[in-house]
């Protein structure tokens, strides 16, 4: 009954919102049946009959004033209840855990306080969580039906939202603000949402900007937080990935691939093919050999030395990448020789 029309109630907001939903629902049913029932009864009762004329319309001022003014009370009540729920959703508790959300066409990136990232939203149960949203391109909107929350991610702004999950499990997260579609199709890879399929390829766009929310117990959540700073576990073997493999994963996950190629072609930044051990020339006239220390410095303080022929546009990854992650990337770059 509770969830006849609504998704399961998995956040502290759900009950309040649903109460109002069903209040309006039953109010509407009563009003609809009442008004339309009366109207249809009149249609039948006063159907045209030979020799019977319509009665002239009179005035019923009291009736008119009643039905103009009395709904006001009801409307004020509805506004009040909606407002209460809304204010609860607006003001996050001070001890809420922070997660940073970056939206872009057509994926979500969630960043946790320890600097780890994921594409699925992981949250602990029974603990308020505050999301700070931003967008890199167009407007998106983060929508979790089971929590009854939604907030736009607007480029050029930060927006915030919060919730407290009440149930361990997994539920859907959607993009609710239209954000276009990619041209053509791409390959299906593991973990892609089950939408937009055409044979063994898939269409990508607003409708596929879907992921999951995973709600853990606090203990499991801490394990999760640890895990995103360690090499991912290969489900087939049950073993952690090698540093080289992890480096390759980070190359994509941290978007180094948007500026660096691994096939020898120059993009915004120099290619990584054959980089390790090569002699580098810098814009300030100095030079150095690309060893592990140099690469580490290039990642953490990219503008201390700018390679000749390029601009100093690389963002610093200090604070984002941990030592073991930097090591993994270096290991990966070494494999490209």
């Amino acid at each position: 009954m509770e969830t006849m029309q609504l998704p399961p109630q998995w956040s502290t907001f759900a009950r309040q919102t649903d109460w109002l939903f069903y209040f309006i629902y039953w109010l509407s049913v009563v009003l609809f049946v009442g008004i339309i029932g009366v109207a249809l009864y009149f249609v039948w009762k006063y159907r045209r009959q030979p020799g019977v004329k319509a009665e002239p319309t009179g005035h019923a001022t009291v009736l008119e004033i009643t039905w103009t003014v009395s709904p006001l009370a009801l409307l004020a009540f509805l506004f009040h209840m909606g407002f209460r729920g809304y204010i609860d959703m607006t003001v996050a508790p001070a001890d809420a855990m922070e997660i940073r959300v970056r939206a872009k066409k057509w994926a979500w990136d969630f960043e946790y306080p320890n600097g780890g990232h994921s594409n699925v939203l992981h949250v602990p149960v029974n603990r308020p969580v505050r999301l700070t949203l931003s967008s890199e391109d167009v407007i998106h909107s983060l929508y979790i039906p089971a929590f009854r929350v939604k907030k736009d991610a607007v480029p050029g702004y930060y927006t915030t939202m919060w919730f407290e999950a009440t149930q361990v499990g997994e539920t859907d997260l959607f993009c609710a603000e239209y954000c276009g579609a990619a041209v053509g199709t791409t390959e299906v890879s593991e973990g892609d949402p089950p939408v937009g399929r055409e044979g063994n390829r898939r269409h990508v766009g607003h409708f596929s900007m879907i992921t999951k929310v995973r709600i853990h117990t606090m203990a499991d959540y801490n394990t999760f937080l640890e895990s995103i700073l360690r090499p991912p576990v290969d489900p087939a073997t049950g073993r952690e990935a090698t540093p080289e493999k992890w480096g390759e994963i980070l190359y994509r996950a941290q978007q180094c691939n948007t500026c660096h190629s691994t096939d020898g072609g120059a993009m915004t930044g120099p290619t990584w093919r054959g980089l390790f051990g090569r002699q580098r020339q810098f814009t300030d006239g100095t030079s150095a050999t690309a060893d592990a220390n140099y690469i580490r410095q290039s990642i953490l303080q990219p503008n201390s030395k700018v390679v000749q022929g390029f601009n100093g546009v690389m963002p610093s990854f200090a604070g984002t990448l941990r030592d073991n992650q930097v090591d993994a990337i270096i290991a990966y770059i070494r494999t490209l020789n």
């Binding site: 029309q5 609504l6 919102t17 109002l20 939903f21 309006i24 109010l27 509407s28 009003l31 008004i35 009366v38 109207a39 249809l40 009149f42 249609v43 006063y46 159907r47 045209r48 030979p50 004329k53 319509a54 009665e55 002239p56 319309t57 009736l63 008119e64 103009t68 709904p71 409307l75 509805l78 506004f79 209840m81 909606g82 407002f83 809304y86 204010i87 391109d137 167009v138 407007i139 929508y143 039906p145 929350v149 939604k150 907030k151 607007v154 480029p155 050029g156 859907d172 959607f174 609710a176 603000e177 579609a181 990619a182 939408v195 937009g196 399929r197 269409h203 766009g205 607003h206 409708f207």
Partner: protein
């Protein structure tokens, strides 16, 4: 009546007392294209808006067909986005905004006022050509790459989309001028050209509704025009107004857009209410209950409609204070809408009701608009709207209002005034079958969308998760029933033109001025002598039996 043979007139000089459709009233294609006659302009609007409805309908059917099965069904995601955008844009800008005022308003309003024409007949013709000009831009956009922004053109999506946004936006910009010209013309006509004896308290409710609509058109449309122009300028010259990458503010666009588009919702629905009032009166043979309240509630809607645009932006990140204020004001909109529903219901009480097809459409209007209005309470309540915003619940809500409301009233109005416009009767039983499919098809298509939306199905999705499949299937089947319904109705009209019986001047036995004072179809100048109005348009108790039953086929037999 119409047997008087038109007397001496020059070769090209139209005969002002000939039926307006006859060759004597203006010959050939030129007689139509250069006509200043409000009735002919009305018919040209009717044909063009129905074509637009057909085109928008084709896109709707394609959208629904794509959603019939999961995964790709008939088109790619890119084309789906174009299809729903064109559906929305055509239905809003080319169909529903101009339909009732342009087609029915142009035809009926001057006759109801007892005048020969609108105040500025040339401006009237101009507004039609401006409409066609704007439509050309829209069509050009469709063939030159089309648009995929949604009819809302939200920035920065619309400033970065590589589709043909500028021509569509210019099209909507130009169409806005057509809307303004029509509105202005009607306001002046209503103020200045009422027949002797037709004081404000005797104005038919259709005129009141059109008056309220015209005011909104004149006041709100310029804001849309400026917004769209800024958008086009931003795309063309890279001005940084809305795009944050250029230092602009994307939320500003939403404020501008909805400052027009919420009032525009009333440009769409108030004319529908206006038509429905006429239908209820005629087919109950009774004055509308609470005439004054209905008239004033239209003006009330026009006014309050300007103060609630922010209710489209609860999740956008606008300030909490603004959100609260808009939510409170939004609740007020329910009052005038409720008053109207109560009054229409009370009109039926002790009437003499006959279920002709137009009346069936009027009752459908009452039922569906009530659902549309009640579901407005859900999205008006702040916390509930956070959940429902941008889901199919909203899609269902606005279709109940726009299609269940305005389109039902529009079709009812076309059938109702058809004998006056064409001088022919249509086949009632065929039209009734059409109505049946439209009514059942509409509810099959859209009722289920409320459920799917409250369960969390977002709108503008090319595909869906498995739990939504059944709902989408049912909805798509409903769209086919709708198609059958509209095809039957169209056939009834075509058949009437080709072989319909000749209509008497007042086939419904209505007390309305447009039925009492003119022939079917009216002569070019509407009236042979300028009428003097001595009673109200709903004063059935003052009408003689002959006036009411004149030529009403069924009653004549009794």
């Amino acid at each position: 009546m119409a047997t008087e043979v038109a007397g001496a007139h020059g070769h090209d000089e139209p005969d002002h007392l000939a039926p307006y459709l006859s060759p004597e009233a203006g010959r050939g294609i030129k007689g139509w294209l250069l006509t200043l006659d409000h009735k002919r302009i009305g018919l040209m609007y009717l044909v063009s808006t129905l074509l637009a409805f057909f085109m928008g309908g084709v896109f709707a059917l394609l959208v629904r067909l794509e959603l019939f099965a999961p995964g790709r069904t008939i088109m790619s995601a890119e084309y789906y986005n174009r299809a729903f955008t064109l559906h929305g844009a055509i239905m809003v800008f080319l169909f529903i905004i101009p339909a009732v005022p342009g087609a029915l308003g142009n035809f009926v309003l001057p006759i109801m006022l007892g005048t020969k024409d609108v105040a500025f007949p040339r401006l009237n013709l101009l507004s039609f050509y401006v409409y066609l000009f704007g439509a050309t831009f829209a069509l050009y956009s469709i063939i030159s790459g089309s648009v995929d922004t949604g009819w809302t053109f939200y920035t920065p999506y619309s400033t970065t989309s590589n589709t043909s946004v500028v021509s569509m936006v210019l099209g909507a910009f130009i169409l806005g001028f057509s809307s303004i010209l029509t509105g202005l013309n009607f306001i002046v006509t209503i103020h200045k050209l009422r027949a002797p004896g037709l004081h404000w308290k005797r104005l038919p409710l259709f005129v009141w509704g059109t008056y309220a609509t015209s005011i909104i058109q004149v006041l709100a449309t310029p804001v849309l025009a400026i917004t769209l122009l800024l958008l086009a300028a931003e795309r063309t010259f890279g001005l940084g107004i809305f795009d944050p990458a250029l230092g602009g503010d994307p939320i500003l666009f939403q404020h501008f857009f909805w400052f027009y588009s919420h009032p525009a919702v009333y440009i769409m629905i108030v004319p529908g209410m206006a038509v429905a009032s006429e239908l209820f009166a005629t087919f109950s043979r009774r004055a509308i209950f609470g005439y004054f309240a209905i008239a004033m509630s239209s003006l009330g809607l026009a006014l309050v409609g300007f103060l609630v645009w922010g209710h489209h932006m609860y999740t956008s990140g606008q300030s909490e204070f603004a959100t609260t204020l808009f939510a409170a004001l939004t609740m007020l909109v329910a009052i005038p809408s409720g008053v109207k529903v109560f009054n229409w219901t009370a009109t039926l009480y002790k009437g003499s009701i006959v279920l002709t097809t137009p009346m069936l459409y009027a009752l459908s209007f009452l039922i569906l608009f009530t659902i549309g209005g009640l579901t407005g309470l859900f999205v008006g309540a702040l916390s509930v709207d956070i959940h429902l915003h941008d889901t199919y619940f909203v899609v269902a809500h606005f279709h109940y209002v726009m299609m269940g409301g305005t389109v039902m009233a529009f079709v009812g109005g076309i059938l109702y005034w058809w004998p006056k416009m064409t001088g022919k009767l249509y086949d009632e039983s065929l039209a009734k079958k059409g109505w049946f499919f439209v009514f059942v098809g509409f509810n099959t298509t859209f009722l289920i969308q409320f459920i799917m939306g409250s369960k969390g199905m977002p709108r503008r999705y090319y595909d869906y998760l498995p739990q939504f499949e059944t709902y989408h299937k049912i909805s798509t089947v409903g769209s086919w029933l709708l198609l059958v319904g509209f095809l039957l109705t169209a056939w009834a009209l075509i058949k009437s033109i080709r072989s319909g019986e000749k209509s008497p001047p007042n086939p419904w036995g209505s007390a309305g001025f447009e039925w009492q004072g003119t022939e079917s179809p009216p002569v070019m100048q509407n009236f042979r002598v300028t009428p003097t109005i001595t009673r109200g348009p709903y004063d059935y108790h003052l009408c003689s039996d002959e006036e009411l039953f004149d030529g009403f086929p069924e009653d004549a037999e009794k």
